[in-house]
Symmetry: D2
Subunit: 347 residues, 4 copies
């Protein structure tokens, strides 16, 4: 198989590390460049001894010339704002880009600017696509720039998309109560995520203020054909990986649970990474750990005409690096699942 | 201070153990009898070496004569159904009883029987009280039998009571998304709560089916003066103790966040165990660990006229044993906080 | 590539589950039969939803006829004693067997019987080999029955083998202070490994009594050419996977640290799963998680002429299922690393 | 009871926080001043909401005049070097000091300077005492300056003191393999102790280089009357609190296990915080969590004439703040156990 040379910009963060873990075994690519601001002059396996013997590339600089000389595709796993500063340079050099930041997730620059800051590469927004392949697979194919979705939005949008598209979602009823492992906060020296401040505790954070909210609303509104509002509450779980979304929505029309399950089944037909649980079984984040799966279950409360959807992903895989590889596969013409057919890591 | 002799029936479960931990230092009582079906003939500190040098009572039988010969007050920390089998015998012997099971929490036997099984001591229901002192303090005083609330209901009812009483709660809008530590499942040999099946994972369980639902509805409905329905979703957190409830409710009338905060402040005035966080601070289960506190915060989403209340308790303390001691204090005429003025256990 | 049909006997324990996880992606084999006493009539993915869409074989019986009709190689992941009851039947049917129990690890039946119970298949002991390929690779090739080593012995023997073989190990000086994740206790409903009994604690167990001791002594003595005694202390770490051995040994002759490192380097040349850390870096069980690696580091205390070796493995992979696959590869003539070239699972 | 006014210098670290937790309920003292470099102008409960309603002192400066105006006794919970910079000033103002740093633990300034840096208050060393009350209770009484022991040394010295004093310890045989919870690293923003870098892993650190080594050697040598060398290996456990020491030592003379147990029993007679386990029971750090206990067990390997002692403490309590309170009690003439009679925190 033809091997595409890839670069990972920001390879020493958790999303970057997960990209390395996945791409090191991807039969269609070759790791050609890894960059990091924090570890100049060191090799990847010096910083991550887990990968010793597998990946010993040195961390290099991220200048477009340097990257273009070595790679064909770039994964940018750097913070928002930094990403849009670099990406135009990569594109000019003819590179394709999967961006894991928030910078190219929004169709509407004003929406981005409301939640983030001024957007300095607005001209690119019209050509990008929101890289959730379960919704936008065809648009991703062949693209040179894809905005890889946020972790929470991936969980929430996949959990509610079939209802939104079917017109069954009461637009002002959506509550997304989401719980994330700590790796979602990034690989950082912060007191608030130090072991003793997280272990054996549970808390909400950024209630009504989390920047992933507008992504959810953008995609669900587009599906529903009307403005869908999401009340989103993120929480921190004392675990490393995983997001469970408990999603509540009023139904516009009464539906039996099994009818909805059938709706979901049809919607996700041919989407290999979405697994719908049968009645009586509920997702566990452990069951998707390290994999690109999104596990879904649903329950209907007939009395309140409310549906509860449970949606589990690994925030670093389907919520970041795995989905980026899925987009890479589509952009390059590989089978969508290439390099991602890995069993979840249990126990 | 006069020392009341107390017995703990079921002292080798987690609620029983927490009772021992609290009562061993309570200045108004003396541990007189500890029973366990599992460890006959052994002493408490043989089973729980943590208490060596502090509590060395042998585990004894639970027969009413035996208990009455040694104690004045009984805490029953046994499963539902077992409790109502034993309690009439204790009452006949003149003992006072704080029951930690579900058997005496319901005013309406039919409601109990719908969720549990036949109630075999219905005659006692009319004299008992739902032992949530923040709501029923005066009724608890002097009672001989108190039904100690469930852990989840304590968390949820305290979180929503001010809204219910003020008529601000839309009766069909309440969602209680609750997350509990594993001790809530009891001290049991079960595969599903073994370390490797829980560690580094997160899952919901018993969605729409958990028996704590009718307790929440009973108390909130009584406060609201109308039937309040609760959509309750329990989850399992990889931690030992603690419950965080994320409670969503529609408001019948628009209210500013600070107005609601003032409503809560007034409602819990003189309730020493409820701590209302100021704007900008959110509860963490770690902050109440091992204490009888319930920490509350609230946020209003003006756009949706929806309030989000965060409510944190320790499931074994305020959610079980600590609240039982609080009820004991009220029943016996002690200050409500006696033996419970302990700092939370951090880090 | 030719696909060998394999059966896993005891596929619902953690070692069996890890075998499934590894073999599901092994290019040289096909899962043909999975057995379990606990889940008759259910499919693998019903019991382990993590594998949904990947492995949906039903659990079947373990009778030799049934297995021989479907498979060529059998992995027995059942308790000791049960294993030696079944294995002769499989061999008679012409199957090859990798046994993960202790039953075929000892050359000397008397030693086995001292620590376990009567050995009922002693005639097979002379033809088996202790399946630690770093020591016995050539003997494993082509064998029909291999006794796969215990998890702790794998960690300890690999940590000390170079010293033993070089005659540098004081035979009565060896201390193996080992720390294991909880999966080492198996997938069981036991109070002692329930989450709340393990979380946030640390303890030793079976001090001087653990059955893995004689394995360590057998192999180190054989290498040293003299009887080596091991003082072995196992401990339980609140984590799911991994063993770290901190190994202390007196040196028969003074050696500089770098000399010993060179000795290890030579000893493990051509052993792809042993990674020797350079000076200044220490193993972490996280760095080998889910992989077949054994990471080693060593420090010499010149004052006491004592060496400290740190040895890290994943107890379920190199300590059980991964090593079994390594043996399978050698028995069947595959490359030793086939199906095992997986990056460790971090973070 | 007379209330002594106390100040805690460095009250926002974990040892300082644990002092607050303990002293807030100590019947013989009143918290008069809390200092922190990090949170000037904030109150204690703003930084630690767990203590809301219990401790609302503002963080103040640490100048001797300021402290002397408000307190009689000072606990210095600041890093070494900082401590010896401040303490002479406090003593000049007539304050008594319990120092939790390493600065006043050594009798020999040269030993301190070998492992730390230049000692700038050497004149005070001759009047201080190593505040391990089980060894030096009488010397602590009435002292104005006590050097509170390190966490690991407390664990190790208590574990081996009876053998050292009895002349049973082979002086070059001692190995202290110790495992600590993460709070031992302090309350800091460091990548290496962030949740995802610690969770579900286990590792050694500072092998042969940890600064707690000379403390152990100082005290054990003094007891033995000969130079005792300790090979000390610290490890990091994914838990918040607790140290388990697994201590190995050769015996100068053969002794039966029960004889040694009797030796320990006599040695620790009248030492209320040391609990010796009977044969067949082993310490767990959970059993001492939040308490000032040190739990000990011992096993003799007759074949190797080696003893294995298991020693468990809570690093923040007996290993730091609890022991500091114990020293405070002795310095001030209170009963040794005052304020420390708390049940360990389980589960």
């Amino acid at each position: 198989m033809k091997k595409i040379k890839v670069a990972i910009i920001g390879a020493s963060g958790y999303a970057g590390l997960e990209l390395v873990r996945l791409l090191a075994r991807h039969p269609g690519c070759e790791l050609a460049a890894l960059t990091s601001l924090e570890y100049p002059g060191r090799t990847f396996d010096q910083v991550f001894p887990a990968l010793a013997g597998l990946v010993n590339l040195p961390f290099s600089g991220a200048a477009p010339e340097e990257i273009a000389a070595r790679a064909e595709v770039v994964f940018t796993a750097v913070p928002h704002q930094a990403a849009m500063g670099m990406i135009p340079g990569y594109l000019e050099k003819g590179l394709k880009v999967v961006d894991l930041s928030a910078d190219f997730r929004f169709k509407d620059a004003a929406l981005y600017e409301k939640w983030y800051q001024a957007h300095t590469a607005q001209n690119l927004l019209k050509e990008t696509v929101y890289g959730l392949p379960e919704l936008h697979r065809e648009e991703v194919r062949g693209k040179r720039l894809v905005g890889n979705p946020g972790c929470y939005p991936t969980c929430v949008i996949l959990g509610l998309a079939p209802l939104a598209q079917a017109g069954l979602l009461q637009p002002d009823s959506v509550i997304a109560d989401c719980k994330s492992g700590v790796s979602g906060a990034g690989r950082q020296a912060l007191l608030g995520i130090s072991f003793c401040e997280v272990n054996d505790g549970f808390r909400a954070y950024k209630v009504l203020e989390h920047r992933h909210t507008p992504e959810m609303e953008q995609e669900l509104s587009a599906l529903a054909g009307t403005r869908v509002k999401v009340t989103f509450t993120p929480h921190l779980v004392p675990m490393s990986r995983g997001i469970l979304g408990t999603l509540y929505a009023g139904l516009t029309e009464s539906r039996a649970e099994e009818e909805l399950r059938e709706l979901y089944r049809r919607f996700y037909q041919g989407r290999p990474f979405v697994r719908l649980h049968p009645a009586g079984r509920l997702p566990d984040t452990r069951d998707v750990r390290g994999s690109n799966f999104c596990d879904l279950a649903l329950r209907v409360d007939p009395e309140s005409r409310r549906v509860i959807v449970l949606s589990a992903i690994d925030n670093l895989t389907k919520g970041a690096a795995g989905q980026a590889v899925q987009n890479f596969n589509l952009m390059l013409g590989f089978p969508e699942t290439l390099g991602l057919e890995v069993a979840p890591f249990i126990p």
